[in-house]
Symmetry: D2
Subunit: 385 residues, 4 copies
């Protein structure tokens, strides 16, 4: 099988999740190329070497520009914080590399527009890794909605709730600094939910938002120790939190639905709870990422007196992605969404077709998120252009 050489930039939480995906994709899916873990790239040589050895990356680089210059790399996998995405993506696209890029796409939609233009000009495939589209239960929801099972949609209600920074002594990691992250949960979490809303419901036309910061100062963080939603305080001072801690939005959709979003890192007891409810004229669907193998489905077409929300355990052979895994009832987990993304990405490369979501989708998401920040500042509704 022809090989597909991957160069990855970033080796923390996402670096691991992506490495695992590149290694496993061909074991469970029939894909046209064999992904090769060719070069891992990061700034800190020691931890990079350890990562590369663990995961079998053949070589390492500490300068991402050198990685991009290499002729033997087919795909650049961007697993860095978002403030580096644009520069890397554009350089890589210009060098003819296909792009597998972590979310959120960029710091601004303007930046993202430029990224997309470069990709189009270079003719490379660009994939934006909003991995939750590839949760089988969510892909099933998409199919059900497309099949008309819940009719016309009236309501989208989403929340993405975490609690990893409720401790005031949690340090000032990059995620809490505007110059590195652009925003807090609005970028990190609502980007996922807006992507899902675009995917499942439709385009958003206006946004009314409210944001809030609950803790203004935090201990400075030890650099390099910030992966995996954990971090260590450096012990020598405090710094300003410059992003919001919570971001809420109300929206209108082009198709007449209304929607709400709530993203927070201050919901004690919620670890990674992305939940949504969709109500339509013929039924309803709800989902909770902490029980990601399940989908709740209500149908008005069930007989009178026998209607109720049913728990679909999305592990049947005919559910999306599942025939590649285990028998019904044998659940899969978070990491599998990355494997699905890698498999679909390689398949798209093989057939020369596009894969969704891509940078154009990323731009649309960022425009909604930007409208949200603007609305929160100006305290009025903002149209999404």
């Amino acid at each position: 099988m022809k090989q597909l050489n991957i160069g990855i930039i970033g080796y923390k939480f996402m670096g691991r999740a992506h490495s695992n995906a590149w290694k496993k994709a061909s074991l469970f899916f029939d894909i046209p190329f064999q992904p090769v873990l060719k070069v891992a790239c990061g700034r800190h040589r020691d931890s990079l070497m350890e990562f590369a050895k663990k995961w079998g990356w053949e070589e390492t680089e500490t300068d991402w520009r050198r990685l991009i210059e290499r002729d033997d790399i087919d795909v650049i996998d961007i697993a860095t914080p978002q403030h580096l995405h644009a520069e890397i993506a554009m350089a890589a696209a210009k060098a003819g590399k296909h792009l597998f890029c972590e979310k959120p796409l960029a710091m601004t939609s303007a930046e993202a527009e430029t990224m997309l233009q470069v990709c189009k000009h270079s003719g490379v495939t660009h994939y934006l890794n909003h991995n939750y589209r590839r949760v089988p239960a969510i892909a099933l929801a998409k199919r059900m909605i497309a099949d008309g099972l819940i009719g016309n949609i009236y309501h989208w209600r989403a929340a993405y709730q975490q609690d990893w920074i409720t401790d005031p002594n949690f340090p000032l990691t990059w995620q809490l600094q505007r110059e590195l992250a652009q925003a807090g949960p609005q970028w990190d979490l609502n980007s996922h939910c807006v992507d899902l809303a675009h995917y499942l419901v439709g385009q958003i036309t206006d946004v009314t938002a409210l944001t809030r910061r609950f803790i203004d100062q935090r201990p400075l963080a030890v650099e390099g120790a910030m992966g995996n939603l954990k971090a260590e305080a450096a012990g020598y001072g405090m710094g300003e939190v410059t992003v919001e801690d919570a971001a809420l939005m109300l929206v209108n959709f082009e198709n007449g639905a209304v929607g709400s979003f709530e993203a927070t890192r201050f919901a004690n007891g919620r670890k990674n709870k992305l939940s949504f409810e969709i109500y339509g004229s013929e039924g309803a669907i709800t989902f909770d990422l902490e029980r990601m193998n399940e989908l709740q489905y209500f149908s008005t077409r069930d007989p009178d007196g026998l209607r109720g929300f049913r728990t679909l355990l999305a592990t049947d052979e005919n559910h999306p992605y599942i025939k590649h895994w285990w028998p019904a009832g044998h659940i899969i987990g978070y990491e599998h969404t990355f494997i699905h993304a890698a498999a679909d990405f390689v398949t798209a490369l093989g057939s020369g077709t596009a894969i969704k979501p891509d940078f154009a989708d990323g731009i649309a998401i960022l425009k909604v998120l930007e409208a949200g920040l603007k609305s929160a500042t100006e305290r009025k509704t903002i149209r999404v252009e």
Copy 2:
């Protein structure tokens, strides 16, 4: 035991729920007066007579003014649609009757202010029946919050979802007409949720809202056939729906919390689902009215590795109201909240103390709801005065 003569106005859904409460309060609670179902009042004599006979109301009146003139009535129970509340309440208060009034309090906060002034001037007790405060699980939540069990509150997230008008052929009942109802779910459902937010979290300082009507015209309804969330179409034409079908709000609280509200009659599969989530610095509490005997509670004080949302079945003897009912695990239902209200109301009369929520609380609720409607129209944040 001294008797307390009740005169009720209205005999549909709320008329039944209140009658049941007046009859049962003394059976399960030790209250200082025996409520007597003295006079039932309504416009349609035949159905009124049937109601009165069924429930043991000793007499009937078809003109509420005559009821209020009677010397033998101690309490006026207002169980009519809201457009009648102000006139009845003020007349009754002037006549020295204590008031047990259904929610929402009135058509406007200005109207409600006048109601309150009259009550104060007359010295009568005024109770506004936001009955959900008296769900044992919610009263337990209040106690837990007051005891500091979840610390300072960051988030309030509420939804009140129903589906009784998703059918486009559901007729144009009074609840769908602005001149009779003032608003749709914003008045009917969000009034409950704002009351609970005031009760459990604190005062709201500003509101940003979005409302939506999904269906503009409906068949005209048969008059008099509109109780119990059911109705019959008259068969001779269509009329304009003049209230919203869904109302969403984002709010700030005085104490620094942020909140969201979502109220709709278009959530297929949800019958009477009032749910809320409260996240604080030390824990969290969530509730769902369709499982109203339960409360979910998360505590950061639990040992590391043993933390999780626990289901409190609020039927223990030491839970609010429960010692008057059945052994642990033997659940109660919707109607019991009215019995609790009746018992507390009679107790308050006995001791000469106030009972909450009262008309002042109703004014505060209406101001938030009005700010919501204004925000939805003007598409900007509105301060609650």
Copy 3:
């Protein structure tokens, strides 16, 4: 409306639940007679008087024989511990009184057979109050099974779990003494589950059982303080527990299904958790009394990929008993099962038809329970005769 004079014997937990039922039945149901709370009977005059006053029983008696002699009593409501059932029931039946009898029916099936013979000879109506048949969700399950919705039944799996005696200092109440109770959870709890199995699945042909006592001695109890699953220790000594603390059974049904039962008072965290699962050739149904308004339903007839257990909230107008109560989504509670029983009982008296379950059903239950005790002793399977 013609009156139906009730005489009740017993005034503790069941006395209250029955009194409430007699008072409320006519308010919510159209029944042919008006139950009158005529005479309450009990041994302790002071607490009896208090009870009678609270609930409006017109008169009291401390000797149940005198009650039965009265000409003005139509119905004897037996709300005593089971060791008194037979004597009372037979005397009352001989006096021509209709019988509304608490469960379990008697101390032995032989005793129960005699009771039934006397009733038949006297021509009185005999009702055995296994009230859970009249939980709307369970009556709905019955209807669904009768309609063939789950096909032929393969499995019945039931548990009735409580925890009110896990504290070793909980005193030796009558429920823990063989001469007063005959058995522990086998009589008290499994009687309910066997009744439901007979109702929903069919007749049981053989039983294999295991029983266990976890605590052999307990403090003696203050007499008269044993209602409502609570009790006080007398403080002057210990006594032998002479019933089992847990009773488990495996059974075969006549129709080819297999079943299991598990009843215990030692399941910490379970207050009144009666749960069952039924699996058939076309679907499945499960139930949990702590969420008694809900029924879980799985259908193999749902489309492939869209199958799952759905939560039926058994509060729709077309669900059993519900049209007499509140709109959909407004739940009812434990006490309502007694009201349903009272309404159906009065209706049966009015039409001169039988009501189920009756003493014949009680005999069938006791035979299964006796086979269980025998099996547990002999450690072998026992046929139910």
Copy 4:
């Protein structure tokens, strides 16, 4: 890192799950040897070759005896149906190979005893893959019980429910033939539950059981098409089902607890639902494999009025195995239990210590299962020797 050469026998459902485990163990865990997928062995060359290529097994063999003769193999991974386990295991042990053996261990406990003797004599490590011990939530339950969090155990209540053969046209696969499988769910499913009971509660002293076959004849199956709980009918006749379809047991434990087991392939709607409840003097724990990242925990030590079953999402860093995976709230799946087993197995080889469960545990399980079959036949309680 020193390599550990694996030879696997069997390449269906378990072959895939094991291959995945051997490949991933070193990526997520620090283990002393690098497992090498050296030789895959199976009878059907074409599908074997396809399997080996997919998973990267370096070589293939169609005769397991030749595989065992090879000097370069360290571990024999037995992923065949159970009727082949004994012969393979004994040959491999005699050849000095360490054993990683699928469950159930063997056809009989006598056979298993011989297997253990050979292993002991050869000094090889023997692991029996009851993989559910290595579900993080179950390992957490073990730790909690060991820490005394639920006190002395009173009750174990387990069920393992599937529905893959409810269709009468599902063919006669090897799992339904006594000479190949020895028994039905008693071997396949109850072996897991008995293992967990031994692990979490203690030794079982006697068994009372009931088994049932619901369908006696099925279409003959196409050979070789029976993996993954699916199969194809051959289309040329029917054959006798010679195992039970359901197996229920009641047991006593040495430590005074009582237990129940229910295993079936006829529970429509249940795909792979292994659930258990454990009640102790200080609390309770429940688990459901279809939500395998969660554990329900009740503690009597929680404050009065604040007690309830809490959902532990077993994805915290300090939960067993989790620090090797993803941040809290990012769930894992079925396949991870095999990776944990592989990692622990390799670690045990590195340190020269034993790993549990082993063949001795397998013997204990089989003795309970055999007592169950005997009890079901003789209809009496059987002591476990």
